[in-house]
Amino acid sequence: MSAMTYPLLGKRRGNLVLQFLISFGLVLLVALSFYFSVDLIGYKIVALVLLMVVSLLAMVFDIVPVLSAAVLSAVLWNYLFIPPVHNFTIDTPEDLLLFMMYFVVALVNAVLTSKIRKAEAKVRERDERAASIRLYNTLLNSLSHELRTPISTIIGAVDTLKESPSKLTAEQRTDLLTEIDIAGTRLNGQVENLLNMSRLESGFLQPKLDWCDISEMIHTVIAANKSAAHAHTLLFSPPEDFPIFKIDRGLIEPALQNLIQNALMYTPAGTTVRIGLSHSAHTCIIEISDDGPGFPPEKLSQVFDKFYRLPNMPTGGTGLGLSIVKGFVEAHKGHVRLENVKPHGAKFTLLIPAESSLLKPTEDE
């Protein structure tokens, strides 16, 4: 979060010269344009307009250029508008008072606006820090739960196997060993996702593009989820003569893995999960849809947020999966769409822009 703010501040400092140019330019422009119409409206109105210009500048620019613009506008007003024009003398006590008041109001205006903006920035910073602490706590909570559950399973199952081997039937022993196996696989998956998240967070994720047989990749992911899919139907019919695409399989495969794992974990038993594959000229399109209950419509936009978990969901997720999906697809300059489908169910669509090739080896090379 702080990494987001500092570059902006740095940019602002770099833009100081530009701020001076714009401030002075605007004041000069307004002063000059009124210089030729001052007979129509009177020179006192010009002061109000200039004051407004300075106020507007104060809303967007730093204090130093704004103060400088305020001084410049006062000087210009005196020189070009207060009679006698074209010199810095002021004849009447009324004009002198006006000039002094203009000067003070312009300065106060600039200083006050700047102070308000500083206070706002401070509040924003505090909010951001609070939000990142909240995020951190959410991560720790869900992580410790997500890691401890399989660890407890492993330790507990091993204890039972070690301490009361004679009381267990052969079938129970096999079951316990299977539980240890599942827990280990689950732990490995969580570590995988944490590593994926840290790759995203590092901020310089550069996809390593290479040619990939997308159908084969999808089959690999399906095979990896076979045991988790026993209560669901997983359907994928690969299209004939599908081109190969140049993508980073190391990023798209975990994205698919997360989507399929989610579909299996959060839809009721008996649900059918369909994987669709198609393409347009320069985009590979992968769809993962299910006929489960779908997402609450008002939550559709939030589910890709980091650590976001739908309320009242069964345990078994860190809230990292979908943000990884989004991050990895966006690293390919693609995007992820989520929509509910009729009559019920959810559909994720991955649109991945990539070079494709239908190159065929010739028979008589």
């Binding site: 990939c212 190969i244 065929k360």
Partner: protein, 225 residues
């Protein structure tokens, strides 16, 4: 028959214990080294049949251990690593490693790799026919049969198939395959490779999308089984 000796070079005692129990229960003799230096010394004095080398060692980098071992050691070296598809793995394979396994691995897979590596090394050259499942590759006649039927292959397809068959069970990096089938200068043309592998699968696999013979090792290369 003598029990083949396997040298484990890994700094994690728990992994060494697991490997020792697994390997000893499958009739292998086991020697352990906790550091790269110790591993190099033990390899020289014991001359093991196969070395399991962890690439992330604390004292010397695994690549360096591999490099030093390969100065004289000609038998199989299998790399153990915690990273999948990383450049490091490809580098190790291109620098003479026989195969690799990513932690966590299944012990069944470990034993299969060890068996394949040892068998391949003991094999005398010029085995004229390789059979695996429903496939048969006859190097003398330059033909490939599936379920006893001749499969029509272009010459490049045959060359690729022959390279796979000569390295049955072993992972081959993209670079290695491109260099041996297409020649020097084609090492970056992975597009050719993908297309020809897809074509071979179409002709040789029952389901080309769920291959059982030509397997993809994501980010590394292919393995023919």
């Amino acid at each position: 028959m003598n029990r083949p000796e396997i040298l484990i070079i890994d700094d994690e005692p728990q992994i060494r214990r697991l490997l020792r129990i697994t390997l000893e229960s499958h009739e292998y003799k086991v020697t352990e080294a906790g550091t790269g230096q110790e591993g190099i010394t033990l390899a020289a004095t014991h001359a093991p049949e196969l070395i399991l080398l962890d690439i992330g060692l604390p004292d010397i980098h695994g690549q360096e251990v591999l490099h030093q071992l390969r100065q004289w050691y000609t038998k199989s070296i299998i790399i153990l690593s915690v990273i999948q598809g990383e450049a490091e793995l490809v580098q190790a394979l291109d620098n003479g490693a026989t195969d690799f396994l990513t932690k966590p691995f299944r012990t069944g897979e470990l034993l299969a790799r060890i068996r394949a590596s040892i068998r391949r090394h003991q094999q005398t050259d010029g085995n004229p026919i390789v059979r695996t499942g429903n496939l048969e590759i006859d190097f003398a006649a330059r033909v490939v049969k599936k379920d006893g039927e001749l499969v029509r292959l272009t010459s490049t397809e045959y060359n690729l198939m022959a390279l796979f068959a000569q390295n049955e069970g072993r992972v081959l990096t993209h670079q290695y395959i491109l260099k041996h089938v297409w020649g020097t200068g084609y090492q970056t043309e992975t597009q050719y490779l993908r297309v020809f592998v897809a074509q071979l699968r179409k002709k040789l696999e029952d389901d080309p999308h769920q291959p059982i013979h030509i397997l993809t090792e994501s980010g590394v290369g292919y393995r023919f089984c």
